[in-house]
Assembly symmetry: C2
Homo-oligomer: 548 residues x 2
């Protein structure tokens, strides 16, 4: 019995220790911590294994569903993490990792992120965030001003207003887009004399009350998949997310958009919102925002712009005009963990009308009381970390001009890479970069010429094979771990959907030399027998064409 | 002209610097970083100002809506952050800060959080997370096992299954609860022969197809405010979130629940889900989960348990049985940033049926492709940070037994504090702690006796004044910055709603001495003239009662 009591006391002491005794600098975790503080690039290069390990092999290290009974030493766990988690992570900050929307992040973000974790504020309410609440409100106002450019004297009545919020800070762009459409939906069916509003009575009663058979959101086929989720979540149904075809520049086709709206109206379905994209995820193009704003005004519907990627283009004197019309949007999504160079987990949506978020306002007895400045009364999420601090830091330290440099560099780099691809006999540019994203594929000049001359069925046969080349190329390159591009499928021309390689150029450490080496590596990879066999088949079809 | 070019080059060099040169250890930010690593408690105590500054005064430091044009030195910005943000943050980890669901967090979380930030993985897809995806899947399986206790051989086919996920990792409990009800809604209106399902066709068509006039969720009046948001967001309408009154122990009244269901059925409204609460936010009580499971089975509806707070009670051999029946829930929410002692931003929902999340499955062309193990195909959110690592670390390092100790300590502490309040002549316990949360109010013994004897109108008059005492007491205590309790309004008895103080006892560093000092401080605060005046008025009413 006393032995058990001793054991219990020892356990308790160990438990207190983890809450009160810092990791020693010479401990395994302390050493990692210092290594990251001193040289994060070096740390990542040293500890992340380049050559890809099979996912199945990695899964074996994370196979048990049982929570360990006994505590483990921090050092022991840290060794496990180093060997099995860090080693097989993805070096998202590497300058040759240009396949997704990740980048190196500024050094100051790391210690500030630790400060944020140490403070562990909860932004849902002032009582657990105090100065963080005004700070987040300022960040939202700054983004609002970036988009809407209202006079400085517009802001004082709104920025710290206990009844309102100029926007919502979110965990990411998906929640931001959902929030925007949620607000749009609730405003369309606002309370009236004989109707308590959709928030209260629900979608079924709202449509009955209005006498319509549905509500729809229209976005181009390049729209982010979060709009599909939003349509499902908000009760519209995915059938009522109308994906309008794009023109040759991956921008929404306005004629087809009008036709779709007409078709909806014929079916007694109300257009809830038009969505314009400022930086399509796959190709980085910008919809004609002015024209969309005009059309939304004509329809009297909500106009949302998804600028999750492209929003920061507004920092650039040179390229800002690409987003003309964004200031007419009712709501705009911008992700901070993309081109504001903040670590993962920071999105925002701002609203032109500073009272718009009232449409989703909510309260509780223990927090979010009426009249409080708690930000949680106007967000989809509840408890939230102080990520806004990192956005505040970026805006303050890098400044408008610093971000402008980053944006300009990325767009320039994309144009350079496009030129390199165009000049290379073995590659075909499949979408011209407007911002800093482009797509291309491996397609030798001879095949390009054959495709131009071939009848549709032959083209289709060739493209099916080129798709396989593309897929294998991307897979081998990823597995080799030197550089990384992503892939997607796009309807490019003649209604053909093609598999293409996708490159995002936002990492300021990516050089032209690295881009050249990506193409060089791809030329090597296609020498693999598996790919050569496909190219052989393609050549046979081509020969048939040229011979005719 | 050359001058401009020089300036541009200098700007560019400075920009590269922030991406490539670490903060020097002797820089302002470097020093903060080291101070936190060496002694986070000391850092917070030194830098957070105890006495509350007016929110309006703080707002003046965050007043500009204009993003600074020019870059700022990191050191300059850090000074600003220290003086204006950190100083006026909330010391949520302080052992005397027992008003909200925050606690000190284990030391190892800090360096691991930095590692997570440095790796900057994106959990939406394997291509940007690799080993983090299996790791998160394991965490979800561990939580699933904690709740459902399936045989170990249940897990291998599911844990790393590319078609399914045992749960969804979320930014917090709100998204988890929304996800659970979203799944429930989509499963209730699944695709059938002549209906493509609610995800596709929307709520309006779904209800028409089923021939019902609405769907409803039932939860006790102690339910978290996120269910109101969910009812709004999912298109049900807040009117269809039925808040059932509780019994004297803050648990859902089963007789009233049956009545509510009958009323819904009379109105041709279908019960979508019953929600049981395992740890009510305001009082920490647990609904009768077995009985709710029975009733849900009888109705054939979804049974969700919101165990955001109380879920980790399952670690405790002694108290686990308080949650009996949770293993029969179709879905369960657990927050890791609450009683798993992980920093802000980590919630989870697990599903009994490992195929349940298919109801909200979605895909895209560039990621989340069919057959991939990308976790993003089964989450409401898109891009997400690697927070699961911190949960994994907690479960591994603290272990089941460590968490058991923490849980047991918290519940014990709450019982001790309840006894202290009961024995104190000036306080009244307004809810008995079942887990580690309790409520009470300042109410001198004489007033308690008068209330017991007084007619209803007199009671009401006294309680209105006691409410004001409570409000002022809480405000003054918060402003003094030594200790902190929160407040809420609860329907306690005779249908009266009272303002009460709320205490959450999850911080292992909170001692009985600190709890005694909280009461002592409150006894001092009531000496304030403003509060004495109210107590004087109360005494006058009481005198009237005793004289009769």
């Amino acid at each position: 019995m006393p032995k058990n009591r001793d054991a219990a006391r020892a356990n308790l002491e160990n438990l207190y220790r983890i809450f009160t005794v810092p990791e020693a600098p010479d401990s395994t975790l302390g050493a990692i911590d210092q290594a990251i503080a001193a040289d994060v690039t070096g740390f990542l290069q040293t500890h992340i294994v380049a050559i890809e390990r099979d996912l199945e092999a990695i899964e074996a290290d994370f196979a048990s569903a049982v929570i360990p009974e006994e505590p483990t030493y921090v050092s022991e766990y840290t060794e496990f993490v180093k060997e099995n988690l860090v080693a097989h992570s993805v070096h998202t900050a590497a300058p040759g990792f240009v396949g997704h929307m990740t980048s190196a992040i500024p050094y100051f973000m790391l210690p500030l992120a630790r400060l944020m974790t140490a403070l562990n504020q909860n932004l849902v309410k002032v009582e657990t965030s105090k100065a963080f609440t005004p700070m987040e409100r300022q960040v939202l106002a700054m983004l609002h001003h970036l988009v809407y450019r209202r006079d400085p004297d517009f802001y004082p009545p709104w920025i710290h207003n206990s009844q309102h919020a100029l926007g919502a800070f979110c965990s990411g762009g998906t929640i931001a887009n959902v929030t925007a459409l949620w607000v749009a939906r609730n405003r369309l069916f606002a309370p009236s004399v004989d109707f308590d509003g959709i928030a209260q009575e629900g979608l079924f009663r709202a449509l009955q009350h209005r006498g319509v058979d549905g509500i729809a959101v229209l976005v181009s086929e390049r729209g982010h998949y979060s709009f599909g989720k939003a349509a499902d979540l908000l009760g519209l149904g995915r059938d009522n997310l109308i994906k309008v075809q794009t023109d040759a520049h991956n921008r929404i086709d306005l004629r087809l958009l009008r036709e779709e709206v007409r078709r909806l109206q014929d079916r007694n379905i109300l257009p809830l919102a038009l969505v314009g994209i400022a930086g399509t995820t796959e190709t980085g193009n910008v919809d004609p925002l002015e024209a969309l704003a005009d059309f939304a005004a004509e329809l009297g519907c909500h106009f949302h712009v998804d600028a999750a990627w492209g929003g920061p283009t507004l920092f650039s004197d040179r390229f800002r005009s690409l987003l003309s019309g964004i200031e007419r949007a009712d709501s705009v999504t911008i992700d901070a963990h993309k081109q504001l160079y903040v670590p993962m987990g920071a999105g925002m949506v701002v609203f032109k009308d500073p009272t718009a978020l009232s449409a989703i306002e909510h309260h509780a007895n223990y927090i979010l009381r009426h009249g409080s400045k708690d930000l949680g009364s106007h967000t989809l999420e509840g408890s939230r970390p102080g990520m806004a601090m990192l956005v505040h830091a970026g805006l303050s330290i890098i400044g408008r001009k610093g971000y402008e440099l980053l944006i300009d560099m990325g767009i320039e780099r994309a144009k350079t890479f496009a030129a390199m691809i165009r000049q290379h006999p073995d590659f075909e540019l499949t979408s011209e970069p407007e911002l800093n994203i482009l797509t291309y594929r491996y397609c030798p000049l001879k095949v390009q010429q054959a495709l131009a001359a071939a009848p549709a069925e032959r083209c289709a046969a060739i493209n099916v094979l080129l798709d396989q080349v593309c897929m294998l190329l991307q897979k081998h390159q990823r597995e080799a771990g030197k550089t990384f591009v992503s892939r997607t499928r796009l309807r490019i021309r003649h209604d053909e959907e093609l598999t293409v390689l996708r490159v995002v150029l936002a990492n300021p450490l990516t050089t032209n030399e690295i881009l050249a080496s990506i193409l060089a590596e791809q030329c090597e990879i296609v020498q693999e027998p598996e790919i050569q066999a496909l190219l052989q088949q393609i050549e046979e079809i081509c020969t048939g064409i040229t011979e005719k």
